[in-house]
């Protein structure tokens, strides 16, 4: 189980604390330049008087010929981020130079001790307390040593050194603490920014930030996809222009502030963008970012493309209407004949009524089977057992059965060299049934229905009718769920609009492919291509009797056939 978010955050902070501190590059560089300037100035000052003592001469020559070059080396090292020469070498050089001044110019001891504090403070800020503490200790030691080396008359007061020690300790602790807090805050901010960037980059929802005047100041990649424009074009545009949101038929007017802010809908407002022909439904919401005075700084808009959701809703509505219609028609007939059977009627009429009720019941069963199979496919609960299918007997069986059921003439043409197909026999039978049923349904004026099976590198089944056909756009959508060529087709031809969806799902499940070719008014051909099976097909009984019915039943409810 995951720990609560707060705990996770705390752990991250602890991890950051353990991470090595990143030095302030700007501070190190500026300090390096300052050091060069101070060293040159110090050396130059010593060159001004014409007369110097031996100690002073030695000091200024040392400063000029040792400290100045050293500071230049440190300056160049500071150009490399995190260079130890710059981080450690600079302060060490400073302390040594200060020690030299203390020894060679005793009158400057107090000033040098104060300068040491500056060096220690800088080290505490840029490197950390361990190094700064060591540097402070070294400075104190050097100051004590310097006092021992200079004449007793020139020695500084002991109180100065004690004060320096305490001041150095306080500076080290305080600056280290300040630096650590700053580093931690900076690391947290960087981590949060990284997380926010990752979320905004990969989130599917469009996030667009505008300033208080409604001008776009930023957006994520999902916004580019939703709005169809690159971010560089969106930034700087007024919100209304960039988003183009509409509610009902009016454009959302953001001139007096963000309308979405006042909408109050927790989950967002149902709006749309685009034009009347190509509406893009969008779920939009907005939240304001305030400054300390409560004024709106920025507005964060969130847009979710709900086109697919709307399509699914429409499909569901269509499905309910279609299924209701499909179920109601045979039920009405059944109810009529059952009421007729309750009366005294002659034997012939009774037989006709029973036959009709039987047929309609089978029809109802077929519809329910299809719906069940569709929902099982949707839920991923249909398992196919791909094996070697004996093509000829299976196709013959389904053609004969469908010709008998529909009363239509169906021609069968199977190439002599057709090998066994790699597929699930039950699924393939369902596929052929749906294709033949569709061919019958969409060729109401008759015309031959033809089933051909071609061999070669793959086994291709083609079901062709001479019916109403489809145009290019209809062809592009005909395998989608609950789709029919025209909404009026539901009333005209009946059906649930899931037959070809089932066909595509089963064929894909068998590793094959399905496609259709058609022209309006010239009929339709649906092609199913399955791979050639690796092994020879088994001998299949042509007459299965009871066993075939059981298999058929199991096939219809989607149970894999254990006899295969």
């Amino acid at each position: 189980m995951f720990p609560p978010a707060r705990s996770g955050l705390t752990r991250c902070v602890v991890a950051n604390r353990r991470r090595r501190r990143t030095p302030d590059v700007v501070a190190v560089t500026v300090a390096a330049w300052l050091r060069v300037g101070i060293a040159i100035t110090a050396a130059a000052v010593g060159a001004a008087p014409h007369v110097l003592t031996t100690r002073q001469t030695a000091l200024f020559v040392l400063l000029g010929l040792v400290w100045v070059p050293w500071t230049v080396v440190v300056l160049f090292a500071a150009e490399r981020s995190g260079s130890q020469w710059a981080l450690l070498g600079g302060p060490i050089g400073d302390v040594v130079a200060l020690f030299a001044v203390e020894v060679l110019t005793p009158s400057a001891t107090v000033a040098m001790v104060a300068a040491s504090l500056v060096v220690v403070a800088f080290a505490a800020y840029t490197v950390g307390r361990a190094f700064a503490g060591g540097l402070a200790a070294a400075s104190i030691t050097m100051a004590v040593v310097a006092q021992a080396l200079v004449p007793s008359s020139a020695r500084a007061d002991t109180g100065v050194l004690v004060s320096f020690a305490f001041a150095a300790l306080a500076i080290v602790l305080l600056l280290d603490r300040t630096s650590a807090v700053q580093f931690r805050t900076s690391a947290d901010a960087a981590r949060l920014r990284g997380t926010a960037d990752a979320v905004l980059t990969h989130i599917a929802d469009s996030v667009i930030v505008t300033d208080a005047d409604g001008v776009v100041v930023g957006c994520n990649p999902a916004s580019e996809r939703l709005l169809g424009r690159p971010a560089r074009e969106l930034v700087g545009l007024p919100c209304a222009t960039a988003l183009g949101l509409r509610h009902d038929d009016r454009v959302l007017d953001c001139s007096r502030g963000c309308v979405l802010l006042g909408a109050g809908a927790e989950l967002g407002e149902d709006v749309w963008r685009g034009d009347r022909e190509r509406r893009q439904p969008v779920l939009a919401s907005a939240t304001a970012v305030f400054d300390d005075d409560g004024r709106v700084l920025e507005v964060v808009h969130s847009l979710r493309d709900i086109t697919r959701l709307k399509e699914a809703e429409e499909a569901k509505t269509l499905f309910l209407a279609t299924a209701s219609h499909e179920l109601k028609t045979p039920l009405t007939v059944i109810r009529g004949f059952v009421e007729l059977l309750r009366d005294e009627i002659d034997v012939d009429a009774r037989a006709l009524a029973l036959e009709t009720v039987h047929r309609r019941t089978i029809e109802l069963g077929g519809i329910i089977d299809r719906l069940l199979l569709s929902s099982r496919i949707e839920a991923g609960r249909v398992e196919l057992l791909v094996t070697t299918v004996a093509v000829l007997p299976l196709v013959e069986e389904r053609v004969i059965a469908m010709a008998s059921t529909t009363g239509r003439e169906i021609r069968l043409d199977v190439a002599p060299d057709v090998a066994g197909a790699a597929g699930d026999p039950a699924a393939l039978a369902t596929v052929l049934d749906h294709l033949i049923e569709n061919a019958v349904k969409y060729s109401p004026d008759g015309g031959a229905i033809e089933v051909t099976v071609a061999g070669g590198s793959a086994v291709t089944f083609t079901v062709t009718d001479q019916g109403i056909g489809m145009d290019a756009e209809q062809l592009a959508h005909c395998f989608e769920k609950f789709w029919q060529a025209e909404s009026s087709d539901v009333r005209r031809f009946g059906g649930t609009g899931i037959g070809l969806y089932i066909v595509r799902s089963l064929v894909n499940g068998m590793g094959g492919r399905v496609w259709a070719t058609s022209r309006p008014g010239s009929g339709t051909s649906v092609h199913v291509e399955l791979a050639v099976a690796a092994s020879e097909p088994p001998e299949v009984e042509r007459e299965r009797g009871e066993a075939t019915m059981i298999r058929e039943f199991m096939r219809q409810i989607g149970v894999p056939d254990g006899s295969e």
Binding site: V36, G37, I40, A44, A47, V61, G64, L65, V72
Partner: protein, 250 residues
């Protein structure tokens, strides 16, 4: 000899100051389009410290300072490179090419390292001769020693750039080559000055001291820029490949 050294130093001072003015004009023209040029600023700083140093030295020589043969030698050795480079700059300012391409490595170019070594050994020997009776080294001489090191380093980076370009182009930029030698020869001039100052021949006066100490930060700045351009950590007006960048600037 004193007057010859004075004239040579005055000429060099005039050359440097003139080039400083040319660089200021160049910087002014290109400022808006190209932004800040550290290279240009560093050059101006260099020109207006080196130029005054030579002018001041020349004036003092003209007024009676005893010029030494090493001083004359150092100026004369550096003069061809310095004047040649300056004339090419003048040509560039006038709208000309401002450079000449030396194809391959002619004998005179190939001989330069050996000649330089001989020159340096001779100078060391001469320095030992000058200091045979001892000398006094004080803080007033320090800036000249620092400038010797700084100019030597600048020359080193410029030489690396020229070698990089030679490998790429199979030839040399005359302007780049000249400048590469200008800096070490300038360094030698400061070394000779320090030598004569330590031996007591020259007296370091206040003017020269101020100018030389100002030349130190200017040289540090110029070295910082040149090194940055060489290692690729800095870009300036002349963008492109690292080696070419510097060559086209000089």
């Amino acid at each position: 000899m004193r007057l010859v050294v004075a004239v040579a130093n005055l000429t060099l001072g005039f050359v440097y100051c003139s080039y400083g003015v040319m660089t200021i004009l160049d910087l002014k023209h290109g400022w808006r389009a190209n932004g800040l040029s550290h290279f240009g600023l560093a050059w101006i700083a260099m020109a207006f410290t080196c130029g005054p140093h030579h002018l001041e030295h020349g004036i003092h020589l003209a007024l009676g300072r005893t010029g030494g043969p090493l001083d004359l030698t150092a100026v004369l050795v550096g003069a061809p490179a310095g004047i040649g480079w300056f004339l090419l700059r003048v040509e560039a300012v006038a709208g000309g090419r401002g450079d000449r391409f030396v194809s391959g490595t002619p004998r005179w170019v190939a001989a330069l390292p050996a000649v330089s070594v001989v020159y340096l050994v001779a100078l060391v020997g001469a320095a030992a001769f000058v200091l045979r009776n001892g000398g006094t080294f004080g803080p007033r001489v320090v800036p000249n020693v620092l400038l010797l090191g700084l100019y030597g380093l600048i020359g080193y980076y410029l030489l690396r750039t020229q070698l990089h370009n030679r490998a790429r182009l199979d030839g040399w930029s005359m302007s780049g080559l000249a400048l590469t030698f200008v800096f070490p020869t300038c360094g030698v001039m400061h070394a000779v000055f320090a030598l004569y100052a330590s031996s007591g021949r020259y007296v370091v006066d206040g003017h020269g001291l101020v100018i030389d100490w100002l030349a130190v930060p200017a040289a540090v700045y110029f070295l910082w820029v040149v090194r940055g351009l060489y290692v690729g950590g800095r870009s300036d007006w002349n963008r492109g490949a690292v080696g070419v960048r510097l060559a086209s600037a000089v």
